[in-house]
Amino acid sequence: MMTNRWMPVQALRTSLCAVTLLTLVLGGCAGTPVDPKDESVSMVFGFFDMADAPSNLEWVSLKRYGDKDARWYDMAAREGLVFHIGIAPGSYQVEKFGGMGGIPLLTRKPYEYHFGTRGRNETAVRIIKPGIYFLGAYKYVDHAGGLFKADKFEMKALEAPSEKELLQRLIALLESDSELKMYRRQIALAKQRLAEL
């Protein structure tokens, strides 16, 4: 079936009073710390270019689908590189993401975007066995709605940066971060995948 996978989705430029603040500690896992010895979890990563968006990128929410209860993981976002080091097996896709935009002290406010909530979107991934999974690289493309229509946007798939480039960035980040370098298994998985590319 044809889907509207890339139909522009209305930007949710809201004035929400609060947005969950993400801690980057432990690879963006805001909640239970990931056990470095846990061999059941996977590392998931991707890239969001928000240069043309009205906000920066501070968080990405990865939602679990299927028979199990819905669960959300907050992925860390560092200069467009998004990742999480402790994802349990299941079916996932990015549901929402967001950040802060506007002029500091004047119009600064949180922004929240939906990646696509009509079935499967491009970030969908089934994690059956523990490993490393790439969600893809995307760019925020704005579509102005005009005077009487809401602005829309799409997340356009990018050829570059490639999975290889992003893995190199991710490995460097994990190895240099005092909180993350203990995750040797995840680093090894990233290096193993890099060797395959």
Binding site: Y65, G66, S91, R120
Partner: protein, 207 residues
């Protein structure tokens, strides 16, 4: 001031629900053949979702007030938008909302035979984001498009059982159009009597 603002917010939410759900005419199910005019036709069929919606799977929060029962128009129902031609659009002014898993009996204009957009809403939440801004978060299962075979002389047509298989992401992965005419004809006769023929006119996918 607070009360006034609360009313304003409630009105906004109600309006948002109305615009989003009740856009245009949602046709009522037919109770008698007398409701069918020369300009309209009764369509009989069924929509099934595989696996079916689980209890509590649909989250429908229309806001603090829902005077038009917008939630009821979505709960356990598909929504089909009808049009005169096959042009892809998201919403039209002619809508039917068959209950999932049950035989439907809807009267539609004869010239609106294209199902140009179909959904099952799995989540709808109207939220007040600011004084002037109500935002709606919704998630939907997009259904394949269809075309009904309606002829000028028709009074009642059987269009088939639309069985939509979905995966865990709520993507329709397979669509079947089944001919279950004998069962539908028996229900037709029981519900509306023997006053009209139910012509078998199985719908086709609209590509």
């Amino acid at each position: 001031m607070g009360t006034c603002m609360d009313r304003w917010k409630k009105a906004c939410i109600g309006l948002a629900a109305f615009v989003t759900v009740g856009c245009g005419t949602i046709h009522q199910e037919v109770m008698s053949l007398g409701e069918i005019s020369s300009e309209t036709v009764l369509v009989v069929g069924r929509v099934e979702l595989v696996p079916p919606l689980k209890s509590g799977e649909q989250v429908l929060k229309m806001g603090t007030i829902d005077p038009l029962d917008a939630a009821g128009k979505l709960r356990d129902r598909a929504v089909f938008h009808l049009a005169k031609d096959a042009k892809p659009v998201e919403e039209t002014w002619e809508v039917i909302n068959p209950k999932l898993g049950e035989t439907f009996f809807f009267r539609i204009p004869k010239d609106k035979r294209f199902v140009v957009f179909g959904t099952v809403t799995t989540s709808y939440e109207a939220k007040v984001a600011s004084r002037r801004h109500v935002r709606v978060e919704r998630a939907e299962i997009l259904l394949p498009r269809l075309v009904f075979d309606i002829k000028p002389a028709d009074r009642a047509v059987y269009v088939g059982t639309f069985r939509f298989h979905r995966d865990e992401f709520n993507e329709v992965t397979k669509a079947e159009i089944l001919d279950q005419y004998p069962e539908a004809a028996a229900e037709f006769k029981k519900k509306l009597g023997a006053g009209a023929d139910l012509r078998k006119a199985i719908a086709k996918p609209l590509l």
